[in-house]
């Protein structure tokens, strides 16, 4: 039966999605590992492992959201998603006017959500494998009372180093992915 399925029904396979996703993941992991290594003074292997874990986690999260939300999306939006996935473009329906703004807004939301997930994920992952990147000793409350003026130089900066590093890593990898997507689109328009 699987063979029959392969011939008849399975004539359309998501092979391009798999290829593009693998490529983009490799690029993102390489870039983020470089940024994490440079900013957090981690070793080669740990930074690659962290970057791979974080990016795979956000990718899987994205897949779950897509697979879970697609069937319950309103029909107008659902057919636009189908159109984009199968034909690489939106078609004319009641939504097509506002889709550009929706895509840009979705991209921004995805950027900040992945940033937050990656920052939290890095904390959890390093805690889980026994080398926590943030120490969870509660800050002493007395110091806060005096505000910035009495702050001693040893005080931790307001933004932890790992959060900044993840923000930079995320920004770089998103830029690279965006560049690759634009290049692909440009190549397609030219050909």
């Amino acid at each position: 039966m699987p063979f029959e399925l392969l011939v008849d029904e399975a004539a359309v396979l998501p092979l391009r999605a798999i290829a593009f996703q693998s490529l983009l993941l490799l690029v993102a992991i390489a870039i983020e590992a470089g940024v994490l290594r440079g900013r957090l003074k981690l070793g080669f292997q740990p930074s690659i492992r962290y970057a791979a874990s974080l990016n795979l986690f956000t990718t899987v999260l994205g897949w779950f959201l897509f697979l879970g939300l697609e069937p319950v999306a309103p029909p107008l939006l659902r057919t636009q998603i189908i159109s984009y996935i199968l034909f690489g473009q939106f078609y004319n329906n009641g939504l097509s006017g506002s889709l550009g703004a929706v895509v840009i807004a979705t991209g921004l939301v995805i950027f900040f959500v992945t940033f937050w997930v990656k920052a939290k994920g890095l904390e959890w992952l390093t805690l889980e494998i026994g080398t926590p990147i943030v120490d969870y000793t509660p800050p002493t409350l007395t110091r806060r009372r005096y505000g910035y003026t009495r702050r001693t130089p040893q005080d931790p900066p307001t933004t932890p180093a790992h959060t900044l590093a993840v923000l930079h890593a995320n920004a770089w990898s998103f830029s690279a992915i965006l560049l690759l997507l634009v290049l692909r689109y440009g190549l397609e328009v030219l050909s």
């Binding site: 039966m1 699987p2 399925l5 011939v7 029904e9 399975a10 004539a11 359309v12 396979l13 998501p14 092979l15 391009r16 999605a17 798999i18 593009f20 492992r49 791979a52 874990s53 795979l56 986690f57 990718t59 899987v60 897949w63 779950f64 697979l67 697609e70 057919t79 636009q80 189908i82 159109s83 996935i85 199968l86 034909f87 690489g88 473009q89 078609y91 004319n92 329906n93 992952l125 889980e128 494998i129 026994g130 080398t131 692909r184 397609e188």
Partner: protein
């Protein structure tokens, strides 16, 4: 020569009969033995439960034995240790063979997760079945492996989601996915899946029912009020796509064109859903409507009938079988 044969023999016996009992061969033999025993049980007419116990034992030995054999012999195509994947596939096919019905999608979706579970099991449970916590590095690798398995599982799910779309909107399959960034068509699908073809056939039947063998003036009046008639035909043909989600995407229109002898009626099913061509496309079917003078009975009677009014012409409708696909939208009616 003798030495060569002896070496070969030693190698074969060494492969089949290992030095110690704690080897993958023993487990494979156990699997074969319980598989044979399950047949014995079947032929000696034991209860279904007994057979189930023996067969389950056979499956378990297969899973362990094959995984062990692949791992022990270092069979790693492209450097990938495939032992857990093979064992996971066996476990999935056993689990989903228990229940009747088609579980291919569920089995494929959980296959990567079962495989990772098989890898993780020895790391979390010691030999005396006590839970243990693996080393940090092992934990990190298991996390990575689990995430990879979830990604593979998502890809399988995405594949099955695509098939759901094609069941909902079969017309999409006949389109071209060349510009897609996600899917690839590996075999050409016949155009016959398009929902527009049964729609046009139903419309053709309606036109024939209403016009075939009717007086010619009636046909002309019918064509003058084509818009009103199309409303009726649309209502009648709606039942063709009633159980399909893509009914909302098909629009039926018609355009008449006068020929020197009769009319050509173009029936068009316009696809308003997602399409590879930004302008969309439509399927068309051309019907020829011609007047036909009923045959006069005899030539001798013809002379006498000259003064009488000519017999009214009857319409004859014939439609082409092909429904060619045209890109763009139907041209607006001129004149």
């Amino acid at each position: 020569m003798i030495q060569l044969l002896k070496d070969l023999w030693d190698r074969i016996t060494g492969f089949l009969f290992p030095q110690q009992y704690f080897a993958w061969q023993s487990v494979i033999y156990l699997a074969l033995f319980s598989w044979a025993m399950s047949w014995v049980a079947r032929f000696s007419g034991t209860t279904a439960f007994t057979q189930w116990v023996i067969i389950t034992g056979s499956w378990i030995f297969w899973v362990i034995g094959l995984g062990w054999a692949l791992e022990a012999n270092q069979i790693r195509p492209f450097g990938i240790p495939i032992a857990p994947w093979v064992s996971g596939a066996l476990v999935c096919s056993y689990l989903f063979a228990l229940f009747p019905g088609d579980h291919l999608s569920a089995a494929l979706v959980i296959w990567p997760l079962v495989s990772v579970g098989l890898v993780a099991l020895p790391a979390f449970i010691s030999w005396d079945f006590k839970p243990k916590l693996p080393f940090p590095l092992v934990r990190q690798q298991l996390i990575l492996l689990l995430l990879l398995a979830l990604l593979f599982s998502s890809w399988f799910q995405f594949y099955f989601r695509l098939q759901t779309w094609f069941q909902d909107y079969p017309t999409l399959l006949s389109d071209d996915f060349g510009r897609s960034g996600f899917v690839l068509k590996i075999a050409e699908v016949s155009e016959g899946r398009s929902g527009g073809i049964p729609l046009l056939t139903a419309a053709e039947q309606q036109v024939k029912d209403q016009l075939d063998n009717t007086p010619w003036p009636w046909v002309e009046r019918w064509l003058l009020n084509l818009d009103g008639q199309m409303v009726k035909i649309r209502n009648e043909t709606r039942s063709v796509l009633l159980d399909s989600s893509e009914a909302a995407f098909w629009e039926l229109t018609a355009q008449p064109r006068s020929l020197e002898n009769g009319y050509a009626l173009k029936l068009m099913a316009v696809w308003t859903g997602p399409a590879s061509n930004p302008e969309g496309y439509f399927l068309e079917k051309t019907c020829l409507i011609r007047p036909r003078i009923p045959p006069v009975r005899s030539t001798s009677a013809r002379e006498e009938n000259i003064q009488e009014p000519t017999p009214t012409a009857m319409a004859q409708v014939s439609c082409e079988l092909e429904t060619p696909k045209r890109l763009g939208q139907p041209a607006p009616l001129t004149g």
